[in-house]
Symmetry: C2
Subunit: 340 residues, 2 copies
């Protein structure tokens, strides 16, 4: 039973903590917060030991009457690994200033750059590369989703060129500061976007074979991708079969009423998922098509949660707990109750 | 001076009427409405002669104290041409039930199907084909925008394959009934969407060479397109030059603050345009790129107004008023005060 410290009990951190708590081979030894907000109180209510992420701010928790066990300095050396849930760029700083200092392994999230870790993790593609490593970056929700779908395609044919337009949600549902309310933003305004190179950090053989552009739109629920993938040859049935066989991708049908990201979330709510999280990528079955050996499809990505099972697998790989990535994936999926 | 009847003084109709009124070789002999709403009253205030589009409903205008000259039956045979501004599918019915019966030429809008008219109009591509014709369809805002950009590209290289993802505004600004408020909708959920074939109705040589997919997002201001166009060979400078030379396309710069569709509309408001209409297509200069002979760019389409100058040119073509499409385009642009 390995001990995991979640440093930053926020959007990703709280989900990782809950996912770790459901595994039988790892446990949460503590979670940290920078400030005494409702999430900090909820962490304690859930039974997690709470530590101040910034030692000088421990008194704020005491003043707010939120039980606090100490600071990150008091717990970090008990951890076998830290999952970093800090905001963008802070994760990189934490590696240098905290994790290396205390000689503890750490996973940083997709807001950091590929060069800031030893490798970039996806359960299907780079589990073996990250095996036993110390500092690994878990790629973003969009990159994770693309890696899964491209794995399905790569399992049946050779990818000559993948073109993807990413239509990104503007803000998470709890974010009241970020816009736009009524506009479409080319972001970045340059083409290609950074998403292609980020996929290549996981799948080096796609270097020069993936072009992405990205747009932000006024919605909070999910991202959406329109994929166009040129291959050496493939049939639509083979694509359907490959998607069926690939973990953490589900097919949804507009013909059954799942005609938008809002309906996908409604589906996940009806499943009874905690926080309505859909860790699986959803591909619209009707969108899958093959014309002139090029695969077309549209998929939706739950930005808050698709990387969570990958964090669990990454812990197993880095701590050399399971050599076979598929066995880890299946173990994680069972514990989290994923559809596949 | 030819006489134009605008049948359906709505979103497109009112703009066509105002555009016709600005030309020196055509005039508005009347506009019709189905119901006595604020637009009907505004038409009269502006000096247009108002007629009931549905003869049996003329009394509604009288009861609402909106001055009405008669019904469409009283004016239609005085028209040299009708510009139909009726909702989707009604335009087709009007051709069969009204325009052919009265033996008057008519332009129907992009909500109708290609097969419901003799040809599909775009000022750059099919002016000559539509010359002297009786019933012509003016393609939709999205198709019009794509035709302009593909014209620029076609002027400098051969198009091998064009891939376009259309990110569509959910509703026009005045529409309070249509959603979504917070979702992304694949629409259609099948790939390819109808937009490719619609472009082919204007540009037959692109048959089999254009694939489109479409998504609806919660915004009202503009559509956005991400284009990926494989060519036989081209440079970025040549693309920039071709866009510069193509009428009714402008370049905008995120570096100058025009970083979203909202800022494009702000720009158009600052230009003092009536109803803040931007008849020109806006391409983000920073988005233009060429990699491996493939052109990438992102453009925004003002869905309410980009087809308006095309309607004017289409009138000239169908009534054989000007043989040279470029001369018509320039004349229209001058009268409307377009940037180019």
């Amino acid at each position: 039973m390995v001990g995991v410290l979640v440093n930053g009990y926020g959007s990703i951190g709280k989900r990782v903590a809950d996912a770790v708590a459901k595994q039988d081979d790892m446990k949460v030894i503590g979670v940290t917060k920078t400030k005494p907000d409702f999430e900090a109180r909820m962490a304690v209510t859930k039974g997690y030991k709470l530590f101040a992420a910034i030692p000088e701010k421990k008194h704020l928790f005491e003043e707010a009457n939120i039980p606090i066990e100490g600071t990150i300095e008091d717990i970090i050396e008990d951890a076998d690994i830290v999952v970093d849930g800090a905001p963008k760029k802070i994760g990189k700083a934490n590696v240098e200033n905290v994790y290396k200092k205390h000689n503890v392994k750490a996973i940083i999230q997709g807001g950091e750059k590929a060069k800031d870790a030893e490798d970039s993790f996806n359960s299907l593609w780079s589990y073996n590369r990250c095996y036993g490593k110390d500092y690994i970056r878990l790629v973003s929700c969009n990159t994770t989703g693309l890696c899964r779908t491209l794995y399905a395609i790569d399992s049946i044919t050779d990818i000559l060129k993948a073109r993807v337009v990413l239509v990104r949600r503007a803000a998470d549902p709890n974010d009241i500061k970020t816009g736009p309310i009524n506009a479409i933003i080319p972001d970045p305004v340059t083409v290609p976007s950074h998403h292609g190179p980020d996929v290549v950090s996981v799948i080096p053989k796609l270097d020069g074979k993936i072009m992405t552009s990205a747009i932000i739109v006024p919605t909070t629920l999910m991202h959406m991708h329109s994929l166009m993938v040129e291959t050496t040859g493939v049939t639509k049935d083979a694509v359907l079969d490959a998607i069926e066989k690939t973990p953490r991708i589900i097919k949804v049908k507009a013909s059954e009423g799942i005609d938008s990201t809002a309906k996908i979330i409604e589906y996940s709510r009806d499943l009874g998922r905690l926080r309505y999280d859909l860790n699986e990528i959803a591909i619209w079955e009707e969108s899958i098509n093959v014309v002139d050996n090029e695969i077309y499809l549209m998929q939706a990505i739950h930005q808050e949660s698709d990387v969570i099972p990958e964090n669990i697998d990454c812990i197993r790989a880095m701590l050399e707990m399971e050599e076979d990535n598929i066995k880890s994936i299946e173990k994680t999926n069972r514990a989290l109750g994923l559809l596949k």
